[in-house]
């Protein structure tokens, strides 16, 4: 549930990077932080413990202002992937407007992916999100590592679902913007339905995505 402040003409959209432990959620938003040049970019807040494990969350604020004066603000959160932090994950997931599920492509991580995805579905239900309509993108990360599931195997597994499926190597930056792009496309539809972005603010999907991604995805199809 996005937060719309009429007084300040501000729409705050919450996006969450969810997934098993050490699948590369933080790496995803670190790359976005380094690479994207939107009109407004806040300081990234990374709360990691010494061994690179997210303890609470990471936060990357992004934003832009439309010609019609609407401030659109994105808060990109990552959740702690470790099973024990379920309470934190649930709190972070609540009121989310979109989710990227970051899966680990390594063959050894199949069970963890499945459990984390189930946990996402369960927690979505617990915090009152409609998992059927929630904008969601599935990203298979770490494509640059050996011993990974083949693309064909992953596609076969996920083709029955309606969610966009993307492959990435977040440490190299491959597929990170594409994933974010796919999420923004869905989020726009949902936001437009709720806040009439097109009708009230003359903000269409292309402009919405471009304002955040800029030319990061030059030539990429929506």
């Amino acid at each position: 549930m996005a937060e719309f402040d009429e007084q300040q003409n501000k729409l705050t959209i919450k996006l969450v990077y969810y997934g098993p432990a050490q699948s590369g959620k933080t790496t995803n938003i670190m790359y976005l932080h380094n690479y994207l040049q939107p009109e407004l970019k806040g300081e990234i807040m990374v709360l990691e413990t010494q061994n690179d494990r997210t303890l609470f969350f990471d936060l990357l604020p992004l934003g832009f202002k439309t010609a019609t004066g609407l401030l659109v603000k994105f808060k990109l959160f990552t959740v702690p992937g470790q099973v024990a932090h379920d309470g934190t994950r649930k709190a972070l997931l609540s009121r989310a407007d979109g989710v990227v599920f970051v899966a680990d492509s390594q063959c050894s991580q199949g069970t963890n992916n499945a459990e984390a995805f189930e946990n996402l579905a369960d927690n979505a239900g617990r915090v009152g999100l409609n998992f059927e309509t929630l904008p969601l993108v599935v990203q298979f990360n770490k494509r640059d590592l050996p011993n990974i599931f083949t693309e064909a195997a992953v596609r076969e597994r996920w083709q029955a679902t309606k969610w966009p499926l993307l492959f990435s190597s977040a440490t190299l930056g491959d597929g990170v913007c594409e994933t974010f792009n796919a999420l923004l496309a869905q989020v726009y539809v949902s936001m437009d339905r709720q806040y009439a972005l097109q009708a009230k603010y003359s903000l269409d999907q292309v402009a919405f995505i471009h304002a955040v991604l800029g030319n990061a995805l030059a030539g990429a199809a929506l």
Partner: protein, 410 residues
């Protein structure tokens, strides 16, 4: 919606919120000396957070950046002190960022802890519920097992009794069959013999009347043959009566062991009692006198053989309890729609500590081998299976009274 959002860990926090835990006097002092002159801090909406009242609000305000928009302003800085102003802003922004991080994390921690706690509560409730369910099941199980054990014990007793009855019945049937035949021809022969005696008598009268038979008559009288003839008839009559009695005993035995009758029937309780008395007569004779005070009672839908068994048990117990010579009284009457049978004796009575246990299976006070400890227990079961109940009252040295209630009619 607002109130909900106000509690979010990632809500927008105002400048004063963020500086809430910071010693503002110290901060003001540090900033002022860094700038080399007095300053003041105002919120995005222009409200004073801290700082000198005297600072000219007109002097160049410098905005303090929040995430994207200015969160507040510093007033009182000189335009020419740019480097110092920037250092000042930088320091404040770092401070605010750190404060924001602290607040977010602590609020998130509270939220997560709360969520975990809620979950634990739910889990606890579910566990409690399942524990209660298992507890109930366990309790139920014990009850069920006790019930089953009782049923098995009952069945065992019934089986024991049924086998006993069957062997008694078989024996009775065999004896009845074997005795009935000889009894038949004995009684038939006796009848023929009686008619022969009558014929003989007629001939003797004729002989007596014949002339010249004095020596014969003298010899007749010498041998007291008139008495012999009379006694002969009497002997035959007595023998016939004896045979009849044997026949009746056999019939009683058959009736008692219920080998003839259907399982359940309308039966006269008084008849059952008489039957039991007949069977017990041999055992009771010499110990006690049986006094029957049988009232006019309706018939009872029952298994007469089994009820007779109960009465026999009672009679035998009563007779065994009598030390020298006593009285066993059996009364029947109707009370509140029930047929009431009271069997009382003036025997030794039952000790108080034994009384509560007399209906327990296998409980006996008799010498080993003398009693099975099943008599009263089986009697109790039989009465219960007839929808009746049995009561006992006893006083040591005075005697015992068993009272049996049976539902009358169908």
């Amino acid at each position: 919606m607002r109130t909900l959002l106000e509690n979010n860990f990632d809500r927008e926090r105002s400048l004063s919120d963020l500086l809430n835990n910071i010693d503002q006097k110290k901060l003001h002092g540090s900033l002022s000396s860094l700038l080399g002159e007095d300053m003041r801090l105002v919120s995005g909406r222009g409200e004073l957070i801290f700082g000198g009242e005297a600072v000219a609000s007109g002097s160049m305000p410098i905005s303090l950046c929040g995430e994207f928009e200015p969160i507040g302003y510093i007033q009182g800085m000189q335009v020419d002190a740019k480097a110092r102003s920037e250092a000042c802003i930088s320091l404040l922004e770092l401070l605010l960022c750190s404060a924001k991080q602290y607040y977010m994390v602590s609020d998130l921690h509270v939220e997560a802890t709360h969520a975990d706690y809620e979950r634990l509560l739910q889990k606890n409730a579910a566990l409690l519920e399942s524990e209660a369910r298992y507890k109930a099941l366990a309790e139920n199980l014990e009850l069920r097992v006790a019930e089953q054990v009782k049923t098995i014990e009952n069945a065992q007793r019934q089986l024991y009794q049924a086998e006993k009855m069957a062997s008694v019945g078989q024996l009775a049937a065999g004896v009845a069959h074997e005795i009935n035949n000889p009894i038949g021809f004995i009684s038939s022969n006796l009848n023929t013999a009686k008619s022969y005696v009558e014929k003989l008598k007629a001939f003797i009268d004729l002989f007596k009347a014949v002339q010249g038979g004095e020596t014969l008559l003298a010899e007749w009288n010498n041998n007291n043959m008139d008495f012999v003839m009379e006694d002969f008839s009497e002997l035959l009559r007595e023998s016939a009566a004896g045979t009849e009695r044997v026949g009746r005993i056999v019939a009683d035995l058959r009736g008692f062991s219920n080998i003839d009758g259907a399982d359940e029937e309308q039966a006269d309780i008084n008849h059952c009692i008489r039957l039991a008395c007949n069977v017990a007569a041999g055992n009771v004779k010499g110990h006690a006198e049986i006094k029957l005070e049988l009232g006019d009672v309706p018939s009872v839908h029952c298994q007469p053989g089994r009820l007779s068994q109960v009465f026999l048990n009672m009679l035998l117990n009563a007779s065994q309890s009598i030390v020298e010579y006593g009285v066993i009284k059996i009364q029947t009457s109707v009370e509140e729609g029930m047929v009431l049978i009271r069997i009382s004796d003036n025997g030794a009575g039952i000790p108080e500590d034994v009384l509560p246990r007399i209906f327990d299976p296998f409980f006996t006070t008799k010498e080993v081998g003398q009693g099975t400890g099943l008599g009263l227990s089986v009697s109790h079961d039989i009465i219960k299976s007839h929808g009746g109940r049995i009561k006992v009252a006893s006083k040591q040295g005075l005697g015992t009274t068993f009272t049996i209630y049976l539902p009358a009619g169908v």
